[in-house]
Amino acid sequence: MSTSRTRSLVVASVMLLTAALPARAVELGAVIDAFQRAFFSSGLHEEEQIGYAAAATILGATHPVDNPEVQRYVNRVGLWIALQSERPDLHWQFAVVDSEDIDAFAAPGGYVFITRGLLLRLNSESELAGVLGHEISHVVLKHHLKALQAAARTSLVGQVASYKLAQNGQNSAVFDQASTAARNLYSKGLDKDDEFEADRAGVILAARAGYDPYGLLAVLQTLENVDPNSNRMQLLLATHPSPEARIEALSKITGSLDEYGGNGEGNERFLEMVGKLAPPAPVAATIPAAASHSPPAH
């Protein structure tokens, strides 16, 4: 290679570098680099840190139901579905939370929560699988992780916290930043497209796990009939598309899943386990009669 050609290449390279990375930008880049390592990498450790803060924020508003048997039941069903996903090795942790409201939540790293109010409105394990499949899909597709990271990136408070972390290496800065973003995200909700995507993926995860994949559709038809002005629906409707819109979107894909329609229902196991959230006599004796009046029967 001739000297003049080498020189012109060097000059061109320096010009490019100067244009792209002026001196201040190089300094800024180093700081951003430190921020990214702490908060915005796609590493599992960072996801678990953010998920822990998000889960703690949710459990700051409601707490797990104190019934180990039901909690273990939901963990077994949930993990079986999660094992069919692209992220079977996460530390999946499921819990029923003690709220009469109708909702379910997911947090990065593998946390999934369902309210007692929603659980009691379900009729079978396949319906539970539909709900858990939807939430597991949020984790697998990193919906909350991406939203929390984006919020943290654009938040001035977050940047200051990031800077402090870069200086001091304190994990508490990560926690504070993530929980601040979580308060906002979980009260406003994800992008609606993320919800539709989680519906589609959740149905498939339920099918992969051997359940009747129409459970989620049945749940949405149940929710369609709960008074939208009810306080119990307030958070769900503030953070999700309407049940009607979700049913309409799902109807475009569910027609092709007929071959799995006769698969596992698990209504007896479900009612036996979830019935443990109720006190015994005299109510227990009345449940079968009431349940028989509660179409659709399975």
Binding site: W80, F196, D212, Q234
Partner: protein, 174 residues
């Protein structure tokens, strides 16, 4: 308080019985009524939009229904909407039974006693003080993969290979 609860229970049961004995859903558009819960089942007839039906059973993506005319058959579940009154009764009977009595006394099996309706609204989340101890406590209920596999096999369930479907129903990404 307790007598009020029993009265409400009786009302709920009556509502449930009424819902089971009359048309509780209607077709959202003209839709075929078939002899079985599958696409190539023989057609019975075509129901016009807004035809009232009683739902008897769900099987996968299909509802078995009966009509006032005495006709019965199967419809795709997305072809139906439940009427709101029947839907309310349908959805609240079990909830009423389970939730109602817990609000009046301590729950069994270590269930947390409720002293009233617990709300969880956007404000509760927006002002939540993080509870790390509650997150740490979740570990005690976690299942191992082997437990999850054995529990699923007991239903019985078995895994299938199924592709994600996109918004248009094409295989690929969800």
């Amino acid at each position: 308080m307790r007598w009020g609860s029993y009265l409400l229970l009786l009302t709920l049961l009556a509502l449930g019985a009424m819902a089971a004995g009359r048309p509780d859903a209607y077709t959202v558009s003209a839709t075929p009524l078939t002899t079985g819960p599958f696409t190539d089942a023989a057609p019975v007839s075509t129901l016009a939009a807004h035809t009232s039906v009683s739902v008897l059973l769900r099987k996968g993506g299909w509802y078995q229904v009966s009509l006032d005319s005495g006709q019965s058959g199967w419809l795709r579940m997305t072809a139906l909407k439940f009427t709101s009154v029947a839907g309310e009764a349908r959805n609240s009977v079990l909830v009423g039974l389970l939730g109602l009595f817990e609000s009046g006394r301590s729950g069994a099996n270590g269930t947390t006693s409720s002293t009233g309706v617990r709300g969880l609204n956007t404000g509760d989340i927006a002002h939540a003080v993080p509870d790390t101890a509650a997150v740490d406590g979740l570990k005690s209920w976690v299942a191992t993969p082997d437990e999850a596999r054995q529990y699923s096999a007991a239903l019985p369930l078995r895994p299938y290979t199924v592709s994600y479907l996109d918004a248009d129903g094409k295989p690929g990404k969800p």
